[in-house]
Every structure is written in C-alpha cells, then in structure tokens.
C-alpha cells in the first residue's frame, strides 16, 4: 500500500505567509495545495506557491559537506567539516579578535534558526557583526 498524506505548512517564497499543504506520496513530495481555511490563502495561491515543491528534489541540492582543496571542492564528512570550521574560527578570533568575524543570517530560514545564528555570533564568537539581506 502506498501512503499518502498532506502536511500543513507555510510557503517559503514571499512574505505573504500563505498556508499550504504539501502532498507526500510514500515519503516523497509530489505537489502543493492551498489551505482552504487559511486567513491569507483562502484556497488560492500564486504560481510560485502552486510550484513551491518543485525545487526540493533538484539534482543540484547539496547533500554532503564540501571543502575546497587546491581550488577544487571535495566531499568530506560532517565531523571533519565542523572540526575545520570551528578550529579556523577559533584561531581567527584569537589572532584578530571577535570583530574580525562576521555573519549573514537568513530571511529564508526559520525564526528558530535565525535565533540560534545570532546567539552563536553574539555569545560564542563575541561580536554583533550579524546582518541579513533585509535591505536587498
């Protein structure tokens, strides 16, 4: 038996905040439907909304951490990647001070992720150099 379910969530394109249902067939998203009783959506979506699931399985999706060696990307493990980022950031922080590091958080990510990002920049790295593309 194939399983079919719809997952209620919020569209990831513009700032309207439309309620959508992702159609999941056997663990794979196959379509998007508007939420009928949503305050903003009222059963309607724009063309981007109707197609919001289409980019998810694009073959260009990154699936493993990459590290550049001699100008070329090679795949690496999470452990090694995290180790390298943390060590390098710690070294730069020690050598040049926390304000020599800056971070761009994301208008595409969730509130939880943005909260964690700025907490990390402020509490761990020790700088307020955190911004995102609100202006762009």
């Amino acid at each position: 038996m194939l399983s079919y379910e719809t997952i209620l969530t919020t569209c990831t394109y513009c700032g309207c905040g439309c309620g959508i249902l992702l159609e999941v067939l056997d663990g794979r998203i196959i379509g998007t439907l508007p939420q009928k009783d949503h305050t903003i959506t009222q059963g309607g979506l724009c063309i981007k909304g109707w197609n919001v699931h289409q980019f998810i399985y694009d073959q260009g999706r990154l699936k493993r951490p990459l590290v550049k060696r001699d100008g070329k990307f090679t795949e690496t493990t999470w452990e090694e990647a995290i180790e390298e980022v943390a060590t390098k950031l710690n070294r730069i922080k020690e050598e040049y001070g926390p304000d020599s590091i800056c971070g761009l958080t994301s208008a595409r990510c969730t509130n939880e992720e943005n909260y964690i990002f700025q907490k990390w920049m402020r509490a761990v790295i020790g700088t307020n150099n955190v911004d995102h593309c609100a202006r762009l």
Partner: protein, 531 residues
C-alpha cells in the same frame, strides 16, 4: 505592516507606491483588487506601469528618486485645502509646525517640475487620500532602496499622520517584505544593533538579561551592516565570514566588487541548499535543508507567526541550519546549545523577547498569531498604534528633498531601475530550478521604451550592452510602454545578465540600504564582427 493583509479589503482608498504587488506579493494584490471591487479608490504611483497600475483609478509616473518631493507636495495641498485631520494631529502627534514650515517649499508647480507628476494629478491624489475614511499606504523596495529610503518612509508616515490614517483597522502604512521570513529574521535579532525583539545591544539592562540567559559576556558595540562588512573586508579588518542561506553574489549591488571582496577572506563558510554563486567562492560549504525538511516558524509580512512543518526527511546527509550552527557552537567550546527540539529553541527565544512572549507552538497549531503578543491570554495585534504610538506621540519630521546619488548625463543618459518578476524569486536559487516557473521566464531582459529603441536602432529581442560606471552586461531587449522615455528596467534575478553588475553601491545614511532603484546607464548595440 501596521495592518493585516485581510484588513486591506475594507480600505476605501489604497495608495500603492514602489510595490509591484501583483508580481511580488500576489496574495496581497488580490486583497487590494477586492477592495477596489467594493468601491475603494486605487492610486498607483510608480515609474513603471506595473500590472496593478492598469487597475488603478489614478496612475501616475514619478521621475526616479523623487518620492520625498511628491509626498511633500501632497501634504502641501492637503494643508492648503484644510483636508488634514486636526483632531488626530492635536491629540496624537507633535512637530506639526516644523513640518508646515518645510512644506511651504513644495508648491504644486515646483513639485510638478521635480517629479513629473502634473498639478492636477497631485490634487486628485491628495483629495482622494485625505478625504477617505480608511486610507492605506502600501509600499515595498521601490520606496526603500534609495539613498533617501529612510526619508521616503518617514515622509509616508508624515502623510498618514497628517490625515489620521494610521492606528485603526484597514488604515495605516504597510511595507511589504520581500522574503518569506525577512520579518522573522529582523525580529530574531538578525541585525547588528539589536537582540531578538528589537532590544538594543547598547542597553545595559537588556545586555545583562541576555548575558545571564546565554551565560556569556556580550559586546555592547553595535556590529557591522552588510555593506559595512564588505568595506571592512576590503580594509583587512574582517577576516572571516559565515553566510547562512544568502546569496550576495546576485542580490548585492556592484557584483564585481562583491566577488573581489569575498575572495580576500581568509575563511568563507557558506551554508545553503544549493551551490550558489556565493557558495562557489567559499572554502567550506555545508548542506542545509529546505523548508519541507524541518520544523519551525516563519513570521510573515503582517507580523503573523506561523508553523513550518517537516514533510520529508533531509535529503542525503543535509542537516537543518540550526543543527549545523549548534554543532559548531558546541565544538567551539560552548555548552548552551543543547536543544531537544525546535520548540525548545522557540521557548528560549520567547522568554527573552517581550513581543513574542505569549506565543507558543500550541497556540499557533492551527492559525498564526500576530505580534506583539505579550502574554498567554493576548490574542495578538492585527494593527499597530491603536491608541498611541510605541513612543507616545507621533512626531512629524520635516524632510527636505534630495536628488538620487547618480544622475543621468551625456555619457550615461538612461535611468536604470531594477525589480522583480512574478515567475522568479530573488536570486533564483529555488525558482530557477522549478520547471514550471523557469518555463515562463527563462532569461533576463532589459525593458525599454519603443521610441528610445527606434532612436538607437535597437529591435525587440536584440542583445545589447548595458553599461554603467560599475560594469557592463549583455542582455536581450524587451520593448514596452511600461517604462517611460529615457528609462530602462532590468529584473535582478538573473546571474547571467545580472542587473547588480550595474547598480550603485551608494547607501542610505541611516538604513544602509543600497540605491538599487536608481542609477545611470547607457545602451549600446553589439556590433557584429565582420567575417
């Protein structure tokens, strides 16, 4: 937004300026069109004849970068005719005398000369807006992406306060935010001068509250904005940059310079779902997941906090962005990044953030809640500034008109403005790989007036060079009367013909927003090489 999207439907006059609403915010546009169906007057003021302009009762084009002048011009007329809301002004505002003095400098004939909007149109607009019962202003990047972006926004606020069109349902000043969670990223303290909930990093009491909760010593010095970050990399002061889910290689002004700058970094880490133009320059790239592979919340443009739910497992070894950051934080030696779930992160945030204090996952299980929501009984806030402004009285700030940073001249005789199209999204990382969307709008174009094309001997669909003081791109033409004479428009989405190679990096002194909406260019035919 001071109001909610659904409220727009009940406005009796809607002034849309600098917002291509039907393309960039379709579901807001549908409410505007419904209001019009119910009898509202729709006014559109935009240098381009956008789709929504075709439905307008009054549509006028202003010259690029002259917004302060027309807004002051409207207020001049309103005061002269006695259409202002005297009760609102005396009860809820201060500084009207200073404003009146400045507005004397904006008689209709002068405003007509600066802006290109006729005296008669200015008067019609002033009357329709001022006499409406519930008038709403809608704006977007067309107002903010100027060196006078802050001035433009303050001027619109002046106009709303002068006529009492704020602090009630269906009536206010409504910026439309471009990205799904740009409101949330700001709310969460993704800004260099504030903690979550717009609490200043320079305020001692607030900083102590966060120090206690995060068990860390925190800097009281406001950080760098994006544009300042690039400058500091250039000056050698910034050595490392961590970019989560952003693509400045398409979205920022003067791209050649951005690339040159990013290459100077000792360490560039990019966390994204695709190998974006920015990620290609990184030393380390970490794979994040899409919105469908994680739990959390987004906050929409009308301050509505809503749930994001996981529909599928992460692809490959990709991880949710917060998981990656928590791993790095722990590896850097900090132990306050242990969370069992996204809900736990949300709870920590709401404890520290008064405007989100009353919101829980349970309360937004079905419908979202609009902040401020300060306690568990608080139903949230559909519109802001009801009985008073957050600072008490609303202050009128007199704003003099200033010209854009770059003006057309003999060498660069065309005005360039940039913007979005309905089928693509920002830097196209997602929409560009969506077959249905890509089919509709495969490549970039420069929109130009047919009369200008004839004069330059350029044809529809011909590839031309567009040149500014920053760079040159080659791009196909699209002839259209949607743009006036001596003006061109390029959607900024396409890396292959990137409008932001051309745009000016001059920024607003307060908001630091770059002037994407105005610069000077020239167009050249590409001469075919003779065989």
């Amino acid at each position: 937004m001071t109001n909610s999207i659904p409220e727009l439907e009940e406005s009796d006059c809607i002034l849309v300026t600098g917002s291509n609403t039907t393309e960039a915010h379709p579901l807001v546009a549908s409410r505007i069109l419904r209001a019009k169906q119910k009898g509202a007057t729709l006014i559109v003021i935009d240098p381009r004849r956008t789709q929504i302009a075709r439905y307008a009762d009054i549509f006028v084009r202003q010259k690029l970068g002259t917004d302060v002048a027309w807004i002051n011009g409207l207020m001049h007329i309103i005061l002269k005719e006695g259409w202002e809301n005297k009760e609102f002004i005396s009860k809820r505002t201060e500084g009207i005398e200073e404003l009146k003095k400045e507005l004397e400098n904006y008689p209709p004939e002068k405003v007509e000369e600066i802006t290109g909007i006729s005296r008669a149109d200015l008067r019609r607009i002033a009357e329709a807006y001022a006499k409406a019962k519930n008038a709403s202003i809608i704006y977007a990047m067309g107002i903010t992406q100027h060196i006078t972006g802050t001035d433009n926004v303050i001027s619109l606020a002046n106009l709303a306060m002068l006529t009492g069109n704020i602090g009630k349902a269906s009536s206010g000043v409504n910026p439309l935010r471009g990205q799904n969670n740009v409101q949330g990223a700001c709310d969460m303290g993704g800004l260099p001068d504030v903690y979550p909930g717009y609490q200043s990093v320079t305020n001692e009491t607030i900083a102590k509250k966060f120090e206690e909760s995060w068990n860390a010593k925190l800097s009281r010095k406001p950080g760098l904005t994006i544009m300042e970050m690039f400058q500091s990399i250039e000056e050698g002061k910034v050595k490392a940059m961590y970019i989560m889910g952003e693509n400045p290689m398409v979205s920022d002004p003067d791209l050649k310079h951005v690339e040159h700058t990013l290459k100077k970094l000792e360490l560039l880490v990019v966390q994204d779902i695709f190998l974006t133009e920015t990620a290609k320059l990184a030393h380390i790239v970490l794979p994040g997941v899409s919105f469908a592979e994680k739990e959390g919340t987004f906050t929409s443009t009308d301050r509505r906090v809503q749930r994001v739910r996981k529909a599928i497992e992460p692809l490959g070894e990709a991880k949710a962005d917060h998981e990656i950051i928590c791993k790095i934080a722990k590896r850097m030696g900090n132990d306050s990044f242990n969370y069992d779930s996204e809900e736990k992160i949300f709870e920590e945030m709401t404890r520290l953030t008064p405007i989100y204090h009353g919101i829980t996952y349970e309360r937004i299980e079905k419908d979202g809640i609009q902040w401020p929501c300060t306690n568990s009984e608080d139903p949230g806030t559909p519109f802001l500034h009801k009985d008073q402004f957050s600072k008490g009285k609303g202050t009128f700030f007199p704003i003099p008109y200033r010209e854009p940073a770059e003006i057309v001249d003999e060498e660069f005789p065309f005005w360039l403005t940039t913007g979005r199209i309905g089928f693509q999204y920002h830097s196209r990382t997602m929409s560009g790989v969506s077959p249905s969307l890509q089919k509709e709008a495969k490549e970039g174009y420069v929109e130009m007036n047919p009369f200008d094309a004839i004069q330059l001997g350029i044809e529809e669909g011909e590839k031309v060079k567009v040149i500014s003081r920053r760079g040159t791109i080659e791009i196909k033409t699209k002839l259209s009367f949607n743009v006036g004479r001596n003006m061109v428009f390029i959607p900024f989405h396409y890396f292959e013909s990137a409008a932001n190679v051309l745009t000016n990096t001059a920024v607003d002194p307060i908001s630091k927003i770059p002037e994407f909406k105005v610069c000077a260019v020239r167009l050249e035919k590409i001469e075919e090489e003779n065989p």
